[in-house]
Symmetry: C2
Subunit: 250 residues, 2 copies
């Protein structure tokens, strides 16, 4: 087998959102241009020339054009004849694109992005928990309980990494059990937020035991088909998350 240089870039934390995709040259251009634009390095209205991009990244115009096409589909730029590639204002960005989210979380306004996503979580996850309680299969209930117990088991002794895995799996399972594709698709977003919180906010201490208990209670409520209770407890969890964010990043 030939050399697989793929794993060389290191940092392979939780699978899913952090999957760096630099497939092809156009991917490399994207990996550089995307973060730059979302970080605001190019103010809205800035005009980039395809030829200039091709020269800067030492690729052919074809490759540069492919990158521009992708950026265009994310509404980060607009390509017009005789004008060039214009950077669009942030209001038009496709902020639900996982790639855009990743770029922004890695960039300058990481704080604002984290806040926006946490608010979104606070709206979606309680409703998802209620729907999960109403529709989850026994297998999904079991998985939910297992993930909650995993959180309990890793909540002490500085096993933050393992705790994070179970936390992510738990929320992902709730979203999937809601049987709503729009909710399920937010699993990656939640994973990114939780990962970001653990990495960024220097959680030196173990997670708060009340938070762990709340997760267990959500699993119980779902198992008992108590949608209202599941929703209520999940709302407490997300409100705690927002409060935590306010304390750590005012």
């Amino acid at each position: 087998m030939t050399s697989q240089d793929e794993g060389a870039d290191g940092s392979e934390q939780g699978r899913g959102a952090a999957r760096t995709r630099e497939r092809g040259l156009h991917g490399r251009v994207l990996a550089s241009l995307g973060p730059a634009i979302t970080a605001g390095e190019y103010p809205p209205g800035t005009v980039l020339l395809t030829e200039e991009l091709a020269a800067r990244y030492e690729v052919s115009r074809t490759v540069a054009r492919e990158a521009v096409r992708v950026l265009e589909s994310m509404h980060l730029v607009e390509s017009r004849r005789r004008v060039g590639v214009t950077v669009l204002p942030a209001e038009q960005w496709n902020v639900y694109d996982p790639q855009v989210i990743t770029w922004r979380l890695a960039g300058a306004d990481r704080g604002r992005q984290l806040r926006s996503l946490t608010v979104l979580r606070s709206a979606v996850e309680p409703v998802a928990a209620r729907l999960a309680a109403e529709q989850a299969t026994p297998e999904e209930c079991a998985a939910l309980t297992e993930h909650a117990l995993g959180m309990v088991a890793t909540s002490r002794g500085g096993q933050l990494d393992n705790y994070l895995v179970h936390d992510i799996d738990f929320h992902r399972a709730v979203l999937r059990a809601s049987r709503n594709e729009m909710f399920a698709r937010l699993g990656d977003v939640v994973a990114a937020v939780l990962t970001g919180r653990t990495q960024h906010d220097v959680m030196f201490s173990d997670p708060r035991q009340e938070a762990v208990t709340l997760h267990v209670q959500v699993a119980e409520a779902v198992r008992e088909r108590d949608g209202a209770r599941a929703e209520r407890i999940m709302r407490t969890i997300t409100e705690d998350a927002m409060a935590e964010l306010d304390v750590l990043a005012p």
Copy 2:
């Protein structure tokens, strides 16, 4: 090839009407391939060949590749060497992409899509209403009231089209006033859902007066900075929308 525009085939007769603002040839390929894939015409795992696409749409491989790149950024397909362009399962689709939403709303599982989006609305809009009540500027409050009054004025006499415009403007204003970019970005989604409901479900009659009143009350609550009330009333509105959907499309 010298005369590339409508040579002998002449299949471009609807050029004026079909000018769907699709920029460039790759846009036309997308406008055909995207709906086809999201409609399930190509089951997951189906392999499309770039060369084959180029031939089918009578474009160069370059153009076909650009279209594939965009589809790939939406996670509708995956392009791998030696194997071709593989259609991905629906679970991986970027269902928040406005383009994907449009395609799916125009296609076969329009019903399921409408239901998913309505559930999403029921989660997001009440929270957005609360945030709007807490943070809206006087100008935004005024605009909100104006849109609500517009709904009142057009709620009788079969002015459904005008009513729809005010309805959309109202919900869009609430989402924008929430000061959350993720919520604000759902304005288009809500607009699509409301439009779809009006067009599809044959609302022969005028909108229910209770619904109109609820909108006015939301505007009042926001103006009075009563977040809890705004959230509660908006929740009633979205629950009504879901109930309506259950009645009309069981």
